[in-house]
């Protein structure tokens, strides 16, 4: 990551990669969230249904600040994505929405992932996205200045 890019990005709220983890093409929820994030100024790359490898690769290639996941299946599939991201993009925050089983939320939160089930308020989503972007940029600034 070049320092110049960082400076150019500083005024933008952040760059988000948004993907669906399951082979389930329902787009109603993702469309709303993508719209909300763009409305708040984020740049959003929509990957659609994607595998753990595809998500991790895109997060690196696009140098995103944040990964948003729409889930609708097993916890194991989500965990595999988190494992990949931990390796290839450890400083990137992850937010997760969709049909999240209540009993899985604590396991996800323990991995540092914030969860937004159906009915979540837009303001909470945007606020958390800002916080995660700020955290990443803060850590990048530390790295750059070091």
């Amino acid at each position: 990551m070049e320092g110049a890019d960082l400076i150019l990005n500083v005024d933008q709220p952040g760059k988000v990669l948004f993907a669906k983890t399951a082979l389930d093409g329902h787009w109603r929820g993702p469309a709303v969230v993508v719209h909300v994030l763009r409305d708040a100024g984020f740049e959003v790359i929509y990957l659609g249904m994607a595998t753990a490898d595809e998500i991790a690769a895109a997060a690196v290639q696009e140098d995103v600040d944040l990964v948003g996941l729409n889930v609708g299946g097993s916890l194991a599939v989500v965990m595999r994505i988190l494992d990949k991201l931990d390796v290839s993009a450890p400083d990137v925050g992850v937010m997760l929405g969709g049909t999240i089983q209540p009993q899985h939320r604590s396991a996800l939160e323990a991995r540092g992932v914030s969860t937004f089930p159906p009915g979540s308020m837009f303001s909470d989503i945007v606020e958390q996205a800002r916080r995660l972007v700020e955290a990443r940029r803060g850590s990048k600034r530390d790295v750059t200045s070091a």
């Binding site: 389930d24 093409g25 787009w27 109603r28 209540p102 009915g119």
Partner: protein, 544 residues
């Protein structure tokens, strides 16, 4: 009428129709008054499809179900039937069925733990044999899956093949297909999918095949539910429904006009969504029946009262249910189920209270049955047909929905028809716009949702968990797939698949070749590869 009836700029239906404080006879256009004064069971059927309605024919209790391995799906179906369900539905795993992938497809392998979480994994006729073991399919009305257009030939072929092997006469078999365009061309778009034109051809083949061999089958139940749950409002849903029906009828008319009336009857088994706007959705069902009569008469000159009788299956709106305070969904399900019955449905599935968090648990499923049974047995509602008919409000709203629906129908026609508005993404834009408006309104608090943006405190005495299907489904599905490949007559399967490909490339009905391929134990993924090879891939008209 006068201002004393109240402002019409503050109260609206869910689809945005302005509402008065009360309605009088002057608010009902005279043709609507006449239609509303008619009898149930006679055209234009505003007041109900059958003269005796629920006295002679209770609605079918018909719940979506399925998960895990074929044995798990069988177990759940048997549970529901033992609890009073009167027909059964076989739900397929989204990860495989939507895309026509076997479980060893790399896209599936990459997410193997998801397999079986959204329906049962069914890859060959053997899996149908397992699910249906011990279920009297000659007796029950069934929807054996195939909600997805490109998946339907395989799903129906499997079910009918099991029936044949049991020595059942197909002409006496009753049930419904679906092959719904709104599901995978609008709301839930898969990784690979044949173009709309090929889909219309496949569906018309199914309709013709049923016309010939399965007269008691609903070949393609147009599922306007899926259009509505993707975002279309009540009158857009009606318009899209009939634009879709018109495509099938036009195609039948082109192929075999002499069969049109008989096949129009078969196309007249459809499904709609009932959401939380109680009266609007009741009126929508009444308007739908009238519109079908009008469509058949005006466009095709069909007046046969058997053909013009629309039969409705209702699914209550999954998207109207909340993640927060999930038991509230039992109240919502009850209200939507009541609207469905008051609107005169022939068949009903009530979305389960755990809808927002997982596929249904056994208990949530049972509650959906109990809601229907309580309405049936305890309320006396079913004793009288169309109990709301003649209400000034109900008749005025029915007429208004019909008028608006025809306008949208004409707009779809002027944009090139049903396939064009899907191919060009016009319906998607319409749905997306409504979705955003609704989400915005809930977020701002303009539209209250109890437990979500109002009355959010919850003192429920226990923690609700989502239903988790059995584990290891992918491994077991792989094992079944290996067995099929090893044990079937490989040459016979290959020949049948080649014949299927030839049929797809030609003009003849593909269903005989589908039945042969299914009987030869061709697998789901092999069907997908043939379709993909012959028809190519639909160009998805939306991007984010």
């Amino acid at each position: 009428m006068s201002s004393e009836q109240g402002d019409s700029d503050r109260y609206f239906t869910a689809s945005g129709i302005p509402l008065r404080g009360w309605y009088g006879p002057e608010d009902v256009p005279s043709p609507a008054r006449e239609a509303g004064a008619g009898s149930p069971g006679v055209p234009p059927y505003v007041r109900g499809a059958y003269p005796g309605m629920y006295r002679t024919k209770p609605w079918r209790v018909f719940q979506l179900s399925g998960h895990g391995n074929p044995e798990d799906e069988r177990e759940r179906i048997l549970f529901l039937l033992s609890q009073g369900e009167t027909g059964f539905i076989m739900e397929h795993d989204r990860n495989t069925a939507d895309h026509l992938y076997n479980v060893d497809h790399p896209e599936v392998v990459a997410r193997r733990e998801d397999v079986g979480q959204t329906g049962a994994v069914i890859q060959s006729v053997r899996d149908y044999e397992t699910i249906l073991d011990g279920i009297d399919i000659g007796h029950y009305y069934a929807h054996p899956g195939g909600a997805v257009v490109q998946h339907a030939p395989f799903a129906l072929g499997c079910y009918w093949t099991v029936a044949r092997r049991r020595g059942l006469d197909l002409s006496r078999l009753s049930g419904t297909g679906q092959s719904d365009f709104f599901l995978t061309y609008l709301g839930c778009i898969p990784k690979r999918q044949i173009p709309t034109e090929a889909g219309i051809r496949l569906n018309t083949d199914i309709i013709e095949f049923c016309g010939r061999y399965l007269p008691r089958w609903v070949p393609v139940s147009i599922a306007a539910y899926n259009a509505a749950d993707t975002g279309l409002n009540a009158y857009q849903e009606l318009a899209a429904l009939f634009a879709n029906a018109a495509v099938y009828l036009d195609e039948i008319n082109r192929r075999t006009p002499e069969n049109l009336t008989r096949l129009a009857y078969m196309v007249g088994g459809i499904n709609l969504r009932v959401g939380m706007d109680f009266f609007e959705d009741i009126c929508k069902m009444r308007a739908a029946r009238k519109m079908w009569v009008e469509l058949l008469r005006r466009r095709y000159g069909i007046t046969d009262p058997r053909a013009t009788r629309l039969r409705i299956h209702i699914v209550t709106a999954g998207s109207a249910l909340a993640y927060q305070q999930p038991l509230n969904n039992i109240a919502r399900g009850t209200i939507m189920a009541m609207a469905s019955v008051l609107g005169g449905t022939q068949s009903l599935g009530v979305a389960t209270y755990d809808e927002a968090m997982s596929i249904p648990s056994e208990h949530a499923h049972q509650m959906s049955l109990r809601i229907q049974q309580i309405i049936h047995h305890e309320t006396n509602i079913p004793a009288v047909a169309d109990p709301l008919g003649g209400s000034h409000y109900v008749e005025a709203l029915t007429a208004e929905l019909e008028a608006r629906a025809w306008e949208v129908f004409e707009e779809i026609e002027s944009r090139g028809g049903f396939a064009a508005v899907l191919d060009e993404g016009w319906l998607h834009d319409l749905a997306a716009g409504n979705q955003l408006d609704l989400a915005d309104a809930v977020n701002r608090g303009d539209r209250k949702m109890v437990g979500v943006n109002a009355f959010v405190e919850d003192v429920t005495p226990w923690e609700m968990t989502g239903f988790e299907p059995v584990e290891g489904v992918w491994d077991q599905s792989m094992e079944r797939l290996r067995l099929v490949r090893r044990e079937r007559d490989g040459r016979a399967a290959a020949t049948a698949l080649r014949d299927l490909e030839t049929a797809c490339r030609g003009d003849a009905n593909i269903m005989p070749a589908v039945m042969e391929a299914v009987a030869a134990q061709a697998t789901l993924g092999e069907f997908g590869d043939v379709f993909s090879e012959v028809f190519g891939d639909w160009k998805v008209p939306i991007s984010f």
